[in-house]
């Protein structure tokens, strides 16, 4: 029994040491959401692509429920979702875009399939993008992609 415990302990110590060495050599595990720019749906964009754009060229739009936007929305983002009245939320977006024009709008929601970011992006694109000269994109992976990046 004693030798079994010693063997088990040794195994645990060796495993921990191997893990630590891997961490030091290879680095922390990659928790980023995978995103292939070549296979994205129309108007969708990978976070890695967005990171190559100038930050001041982007207005982030949070299409999640208000409580979640208040909890961990992107700094400087505007709330435009399909849970509240469109006419109550749209003015703040428009004031942001007209007061400080940006070339790009990136909309994100909670998860793949929630549909909110796609809907909000379509509405903004159809109503205002042509006149105000901006592009509207949907962030692939939504808030999960941003959280995985540690932002």
């Amino acid at each position: 029994m004693k030798s079994f415990i010693i063997a088990l302990g040794s195994l645990l110590v060796l495993s921990a040491a191997a893990g630590l060495i891997t961490w030091k050599v290879v680095g922390a595990p990659d928790r980023a959401i995978s995103c292939d720019p070549e296979s994205l749906p129309e108007h969708h964009v990978c976070l890695s692509t967005i990171r190559n754009w100038p930050e001041d060229a982007i207005l982030w739009v949070d299409a999640r429920p208000r409580a979640e936007w208040e909890k961990n929305g992107v700094k400087g983002s505007v709330l435009v979702n399909d849970l509240e009245e469109w006419f109550d939320l749209e003015p703040e977006f428009m004031m942001q875009m007209m007061g400080n024009p940006r070339a790009k709008v990136v909309v994100y929601c909670n998860q793949a399939g929630c549909g909110s970011s796609k809907y909000v992006a379509n509405q903004l694109r159809e109503r205002h993008a042509g006149t105000l000269d901006f592009e509207v994109h949907v962030l692939q992976g939504g808030i999960k992609a941003l959280l995985a990046e540690g932002k």
Binding site: P37, L40, P41, E42, H43, H44, V45, T49, N52, W53, P54, A57, D82, L83, E84, E85, W86, F87, E90, P91, M94, M95, M98, G99, P101, A103, K104, Q111, G113, C114, G115, S116, K118, Y119, N122, Q123, E126, R127, H128, G130, T131, L132, D133, F134, E135, H137
Partner: protein, 222 residues
């Protein structure tokens, strides 16, 4: 027919053309169970605007989750259109026992826009000629919708005139900024006599702004 484990759906996408005054519409996804039967773990709507239901119900009115081979049923998705305009996709996420990936049953609803502003935004480039521009207001309905009142929040810089072309059907908002040498923004709000909540209000936007110096980037797929 799309095969998903042992639950075979006739379609996973239902397209509905909603009537303007229709608040709730329902998409139906008929299915047949094959093989050894199927167990539904969950069927969740990914939006509070959507409610899923598996039919037929059990005698006690609860959802039938265990299905035998050869049985037929339907998943119904009841969609609340009250906050939406244009085309909207919402999904029911169906998880089946032993299946790693969920099935998404998509309801695509086209909700008509009864009070249409074209364009909904007017823009003048900073320093350009302060020419009059026009927003056309068109009623896309079988009954007239009248504009009851209107107001601008920056009439000093963006004086406007609401012109009735055909009462209840067609209007124009004519805007001529007083000065385009400075950036500016404004809103023009309309109130209508529509019986449908989301068409009781409409908003137009006006702005004067410098031309963007940076050309929009196009890395994302368009």
């Amino acid at each position: 027919m799309s095969l998903s484990a042992k639950m075979v759906f006739e379609t996973k996408l239902v397209v509905i053309e909603a009537n303007p005054d229709e608040i709730f519409v329902t998409g139906e996804f008929p299915f047949e169970v094959t093989g050894d039967g199927e167990t539904i773990i969950s069927y969740d709507a990914l939006c509070s605007c959507l409610a899923g239901r598996v039919e037929p119900l059990l005698p006690d009115r609860s959802a039938k989750l265990n299905w035998k081979a050869g049985e037929k049923g339907v998943i119904k998705a009841r969609f609340d259109t009250s906050r939406f305009l244009g085309t909207v996709d919402k999904a029911i996420e169906l998880k089946l026992e032993g299946e790693k990936d969920p099935i998404h049953l998509i309801v695509r609803v086209n909700v008509p826009e009864l009070v249409q502003l074209k364009p909904s935004t007017l823009k003048w480039d900073k320093g350009s000629e302060a020419k009059e521009k026009v927003i056309k207001v068109k009623i896309n309905h079988t009954e007239p919708i009248k504009i009851l009142s209107h107001a601008g929040n920056n009439e000093k810089s963006y004086p406007y005139e609401l012109k009735t072309i055909k009462e209840g059907w067609e209007y124009e908002i004519r805007v001529k900024p007083t000065d385009t040498s400075q950036s500016g923004i404004g809103m023009i709000s309309l109130r209508t006599d529509s019986k449908i909540g989301k068409f009781k209000r409409a908003t137009a936007y006006v702005t004067t702004k410098p031309k963007l110096k940076m050309k929009p980037l196009t890395e994302a797929r368009e």
